[in-house]
Symmetry: C2
Amino acid sequence: MVEMARLDIVQGDFWPCLERRLAWEGVADETVVATVREILKAIRCRGDEALLEYTQRFDGLEIARAPELEIPISRLQAALVGISREQREALQVAAERITAYHRHQKQESWSYTEPDGTLLGQQVRPLDRVGLYVPGGKAAYPSSVLMNALPAKVAGVSELIMVVPTPKGEMNDLVLGAAAIAGVDRVFTVGGAQAVAALAFGTESVPRVDKIVGPGNMYVATAKSMVFGQVGIDMIAGPSEILVLCDGRTEPEWIAMDLFSQAEHDETAQAILLSPDGAFLDEVTEAIARLLPTLERHEVIANSLRSRGILIKVEDLDQALEVINFIAPEHLELSVEDPQALASRVRHAGAIFMGRYTAEAIGDYCAGPNHVLPTSRTARFSSPLGVYDFQKRSSLIQCSPQGSQTLGRVASVLARGEGLTAHARSAEYRLKG
Amino acid sequence: MVEMARLDIVQGDFWPCLERRLAWEGVADETVVATVREILKAIRCRGDEALLEYTQRFDGLEIARAPELEIPISRLQAALVGISREQREALQVAAERITAYHRHQKQESWSYTEPDGTLLGQQVRPLDRVGLYVPGGKAAYPSSVLMNALPAKVAGVSELIMVVPTPKGEMNDLVLGAAAIAGVDRVFTVGGAQAVAALAFGTESVPRVDKIVGPGNMYVATAKSMVFGQVGIDMIAGPSEILVLCDGRTEPEWIAMDLFSQAEHDETAQAILLSPDGAFLDEVTEAIARLLPTLERHEVIANSLRSRGILIKVEDLDQALEVINFIAPEHLELSVEDPQALASRVRHAGAIFMGRYTAEAIGDYCAGPNHVLPTSRTARFSSPLGVYDFQKRSSLIQCSPQGSQTLGRVASVLARGEGLTAHARSAEYRLKG
């Protein structure tokens, strides 16, 4: 039996209790910070030499020369042929759907011309080169390769460099096959902070990139936050979360399994069920008890539900919305009768799964939207990974001779008001008599 | 006479020389980090009490009760009435133009329905509440209030909270007037790391926000980077830069003044002139020598040009483009005959000022585009501040019963490939027969 925390919105201390239960601070300890700082410095100063040393030390990879760290594209193609036909086709369907969806996100340049001939706009361009970090070992997820690589490809990024550690030389053919499908341009068998450093600074073998995306452990996350500024990075992800809102009319076992599907990620993952129907919360609790022993990852799930899971009783759907917008969940499942009406009132969520048939897992793999989503309540201010993360904009301004007269006068007044007289005079030079 | 570094692309060591001259690392020293960490902790634990203490200590503001830290909106309106008519009108013209331009950036929600009834899309929403940091004292810039506040307003942010230190009670009416025009909702007279902390964590008086934008000193920048994750932040800006490309046929004095207009910001600002015409580089050098003594901020300018300025001789416009894309300048001025043709080949720049009549200063104040731009070569991967920084997206997924059959099978195969069987089973539950 798993004891999950249960809250009722009518309790006087509901909101502080909820906030405490949500709290998460992923702080890297000082030892990690110091280690990563040393690794970054070594790669920056000694390039490939240091990269080889660390890869030997941490991954037990006996490679004599840095160029051997690169996996040829032919090896990716071989991996794709080597996996089962069912898996290959599933990866291909997923890739096609992810690509189709992300095409809708592509931003185009725009401009307009004012009556006096002044042109204003924004020019949108893809990033030149992007680095994609892929974890090795147990948490080697081909879906993560597709989700990170394809938006970059849709954006038009010209070169996509993947790094993936291969401890003791062990490669994951699903991951390599996914890289082949996604059109990754080059792959290096390096990982950890040293791989992040190689991408950020470049080495003799690994080209320097403009942005690094993809999940990783504490060392990878710390390295990414330290090279930020030198290169762009994606969000540093916290534990995965799901919030299911159910009106009590979906199969309790379906809902239990949806909660499990987040909880099985790791023990810090958070699964929350919200319902106006107290009896339904009991039914799901029973379904959890019944189903849990049948799951491969039941220990992880039990620990996650025990330490971070929550069952919340609300009075009605309006209150449910209030709780949802407070939590700003990464994954929100609206297992209710009219999910679209409710979704339009959701202000903060990474992804919204609407209706009884939309298992969150479908979004993780193949519906089309990205599975890299804002966690730990950051959906209040951030968005799913998308094509827009691999494009950037340059403002365009061309003053006509006439426009420079009117605008120049305004700029001159404001610049002098700020005491910036060179600004004022550079505008005044363009004024005619 | 100002000795500016001069490089020629034909030199063998041109690229490394250029890279060294561009290098900039804004590292906060350990003392700053420790001080800021202490301030954040104090505000988080003791709220208003600590905020009052710091404001008294750092700004010499004798205020007994925290509510007195708020400036009433009527005071902003009074400031607007109090400034000169010319200034008020200039601020209003600027605000109208900035608003009109930024409306083009507003993103709308979108969705599409597949043949089997599955709906996919993205819901776009504004942030709830945004904090705007405005520096006090010397660098009090009303233009900065407009540039940071108006995109948030266009995005539909419901509450905009401004903080501005008022050392010894001194207020800047241009700044307050700009806040009135921009429609800032509340203003607090606090600054430094304590203001950032108050916005990030909330105190009894200052409401907690979802994102903090706006420039500030080293303490402010350090505090922003430390609260990132808790709230969103904008880019941490480095020194301002301009790169002017001139074909040699613009008035040398105009170009000299354009270089000054960046150099006058501070001694770390960087002004670069690129030309295929060596004689023109000499003419601008002479114009610099001639004009410099006539400028109020000539000492700052001289120091900036001496320590960071560069004159670069290229062979032709193709080489110029190569240099531009390498530098990825914050401000790029194309003072050439056909600037649009050239601009379309620029891959990396914060803002592109096209033609001989487009002084960069016009973009700083009133052309319409934002003056908050990526510095220190980060235009390789980031964009001007815009409406998109105050909106965020939620993915939308609604599987039809039929869609959940096809997608559920694909998800199941991929989830099992990753060893995530709860994921697989939650999709399989929705399969019929």
